[in-house]
């Protein structure tokens, strides 16, 4: 089970990447900061970084509104 932002839970599956998590949560905003177990992931590596089971993922949206 993957914990997102200390709240939402996602099923883990083999070969799951950071990008899969973003797609599943429908996080499409461009200005985000992604942390995987306290380690910041660079934007280019979203779809290549594998996520183990029981990882903690934080996805921070840097928006403060128009």
């Amino acid at each position: 089970m993957i914990l997102v932002n200390d709240r939402d839970q996602l099923e883990w599956h083999e070969g799951m990447t950071v990008q899969d998590i973003l797609d599943e949560m429908n996080y499409t905003y461009s200005m985000i900061v992604v942390g995987l177990n306290e380690q910041i992931i660079h934007e280019v590596d979203y779809h290549t970084t594998l996520v183990e089971d029981n990882s903690k993922v934080t996805v921070f949206h840097l928006a403060h509104g128009g």
Binding site: N5, Q19, V33, G65, G66
Partner: protein
């Protein structure tokens, strides 16, 4: 260039060092990453590589073939074996440096490059073109590119061909349209360009310019990958709000709609907004987000048939469209235009019209009340007719123009059995119509809206992503801290004549890697830029605490004046329920899983309860939550539980002036 997260990484080797480069990135980035300091002159990290000085040439082996390429603009597309120190490459560097030395012998930056490349002989390439001036222009093209990419004015350019090439403004006269942003002077490596600063006579103009340029550079390089402000302005978040279920649809009932793609920023860019045009609303703004629709033919009203220019639509106006159930951009652009020229607030008009439409669809009002207009959600033409009536001051338009608070009371009297429903769906507080965000799932934003002193406008606090998505402020204390910090931080810009959007609608490239997420959310580098701006102008050093205090003095003054006018009471800070939760069963069922879970998680038994009963349970629960967060927020702000600033808080801020204390002393 493709969005960053679509491209992959490619392994290359630079002088034997393994580097994992981003596909289509410029080779020089990887060479720098390998710790090699290539000699460059025309390369500038914030400008599109020009490849004109040729000093950065390196040997590249790709698919078995060896060739010399300029590193600054060579796209990494396949495995490469790079050698930056072959004999041939070093020889060419020396020759090229000698060519520069021959032409501009006394320019410091050229003497440095010559030293780095082992070039010594100043006579070899001496000619009648040789320029002894140490501040000579060395045709590195930075200024021309900055005038184009930093500020989009395109005033500076080249003249002449071949050896006659030189940089200037047309006819070598100062072009009256130069806005004096001094980007060209900033990027010039030799000091060839000088421009004296503006009419404010700041203490330290360089300090202001150097920090302003950082943001200009970010806009030039990062905007296409971030908010695309130069392409679509604030309308870039239309599709984002829809994706996060926050776009107000049909009087805030829902947060998204299947027709949103018909009106999102992609359509605006493709068919409406003029692209590639500098749209700043004051000189020197690199964000330039005031997009416009040109030659738009009006279809209704007194100016029907005219081809006009329309400022916008910005996000609020577009979201007003979805709030009225109108997803047709032609309608949105037209109501944007008529609101502007009639001097009407698009937000008040749209939110009020959404309220009228919901009342109309629920039979609270009929054609008799609307002077024969048919006004269900999506009634674009009749909605426009109301707008024209408002201008003419006649018919239903006149009544509509009094706002939701007036209509609420009037129609509550007309149908007393639906009075509560009417008050729940009338999205106004303190008489001001809500701006266009769905706050019902974010307790922090509900308070952000209704604790704002002037009324529910989000420029005091926009906490939805922090609260609902990032889950950064789970506890009441967190929320209270945010409801203390952000209203002060965001309104600080309004004390100095600054635009808040430039603070965080573009962020430095390393912002997310340099700061922990909590900090990164405030974009610390940009906040530091503003402190330096204030110091450069006034000589006063600023830090976060001073900044918040400056803002808190004005914030409390406004609160006190509101109290004086009999308005600043706690009862005015209560949101209509539509802003806090599902008013109707229909709404409840559209998010039934989330709502049932929230009730159960908070120990509320919903076993066997009907939807109506669950709606009521949710309502009571959320108003209770709201009461708690208000208490926490007032306490954190140093106010009484009635929201009256305490005298010791005024003392703390140094604004315990007699005429202010007079107003609050007997309300402590």
């Amino acid at each position: 260039m493709a969005l960053l997260n679509k491209s992959k990484r490619i392994d290359i080797s630079v002088n034997g060092v393994k580097i994992s480069a981003i596909e289509n990135s410029n080779l020089i980035d990887s060479i720098k990453e390998a710790g090699i300091d290539l000699p460059t002159l025309c390369y500038h990290k914030d400008l599109t590589p020009n490849g004109s000085c040729r000093l950065c040439m390196v040997e590249v082996e790709e698919r078995g073939k060896k060739k010399l390429v300029t590193a600054c603009n060579y796209p990494v597309r396949a495995e490469l074996n790079v050698n930056t120190e072959t004999e041939k490459v070093k020889r060419h560097r020396k020759n090229l440096a000698e060519m520069y030395l021959g032409r501009w012998p006394n320019v410091p930056v050229i003497q440095e490059i010559a030293e780095k490349c082992g070039a010594v002989d100043k006579e070899k390439y001496k000619s009648d073109l040789t320029d002894e001036n140490p501040k000579a222009c060395i045709l590195c093209t930075h200024c021309v590119r900055a005038c184009d990419e930093f500020i989009q004015e395109k005033i500076l350019g080249f003249a002449g061909r071949g050896y006659k090439r030189n940089v200037n403004m047309p006819f070598q006269k100062v072009d009256p349209h130069c806005v004096g942003c001094s980007s060209c002077a900033f990027v010039c490596p030799t000091g060839a360009i000088s421009i004296d600063d503006n009419l404010n006579h700041p203490v330290n103009p360089e300090m202001i310019r150097d920090h302003g340029m950082k943001v200009n550079a970010e806009m030039a390089t990062l905007d296409p990958y971030q908010c695309r402000m130069r392409e679509v302005g604030t309308a870039n978040i239309v599709e984002v709000m829809d994706a996060y279920d926050l776009l107000p649809v049909m009087n805030y009932k829902y947060g998204q709609h299947k027709d949103t793609p018909k009106m999102d920023s992609k359509v605006m860019k493709a068919k409406y907004f003029t692209q590639g045009h500098p749209d700043q609303c004051w000189h020197g703004c690199s964000m330039a987000c005031a997009k416009a629709v040109e030659h738009f033919e009006l279809k209704t009203g007194p100016y029907k048939g005219d081809k006009v220019i329309v400022d916008g639509p910005e996000y609020e106006t577009a979201a007003g469209g979805s709030n009225m159930g109108c997803f047709d951009l032609d309608f949105i652009v037209e109501y944007n235009f008529y609101c502007d020229t009639y001097g009407l607030d698009t937000i008040s008009y749209a939110t009020c019209m959404a309220f009228v439409m919901e009342c109309y669809e629920n039979g609270i009002i009929t054609k008799e009340d609307t002077g024969g207009l048919h006004l269900p959600f999506g009634a674009t033409n009749d909605a426009l007719e109301v707008l024209h009536q408002m201008a003419r001051g006649e018919g239903f338009g006149l009544e509509f123009g009094q706002g939701i608070k007036y209509l609420k009371e009037k129609w509550a009297k007309k149908c007393p059995e639906k009075a509560q429903f009417i008050r729940d769906i009338g999205m106004e507080a303190k008489g001001l119509e809500y701006s266009e965000y769905v706050s019902k799932e974010s307790l922090a934003q509900q308070a952000g809206y209704t604790l704002a002193i002037k009324g529910p406008q989000h420029d005091e606090a926009w906490l939805i992503f922090m609260d609902m998505v990032n889950n950064q402020i789970p506890t009441f204390e967190d929320k209270a801290e945010a409801l203390y910090y952000f209203p002060l931080f965001r309104t600080w810009f309004g004390l100095y004549g600054l635009c808040k959007i430039v603070w965080n609608d573009v962020a430095p490239k390393d912002n997310s890697m340099k700061y922990p997420p909590q900090q990164a959310a405030k974009i610390p580098d940009h906040v530091y830029n503003y402190w330096k701006f204030v110091e450069g102008m006034t000589g006063r050093e600023l830090n976060e605490q001073k900044m918040l205090d400056e803002s808190a003095r004005v914030h409390n003054l406004q609160k006190i004046m509101s109290i004086m006018l009999g308005k600043g009471e706690r009862k005015d800070d209560i949101p209509p329920y539509r802003a806090m939760g599902p008013v109707t069963v229909e709404e409840y069922e559209s998010r039934v899983l989330r709502y049932d879970k929230q009730l159960k998680d908070n120990g509320i038994d919903i076993e066997g309860k009907t939807s109506e009963e669950k709606v009521q349970l949710m309502k009571d629960f959320r108003y209770e939550q709201y009461r708690k967060v208000t208490d926490a927020a007032f306490t954190r702000r140093g106010w009484t539980l009635e929201g009256v600033p305490k005298i010791e808080r005024l003392k703390e801020l140094g604004i315990d002036l007699p005429e202010l204390v007079e107003i609050v002393k007997d309300k402590q």
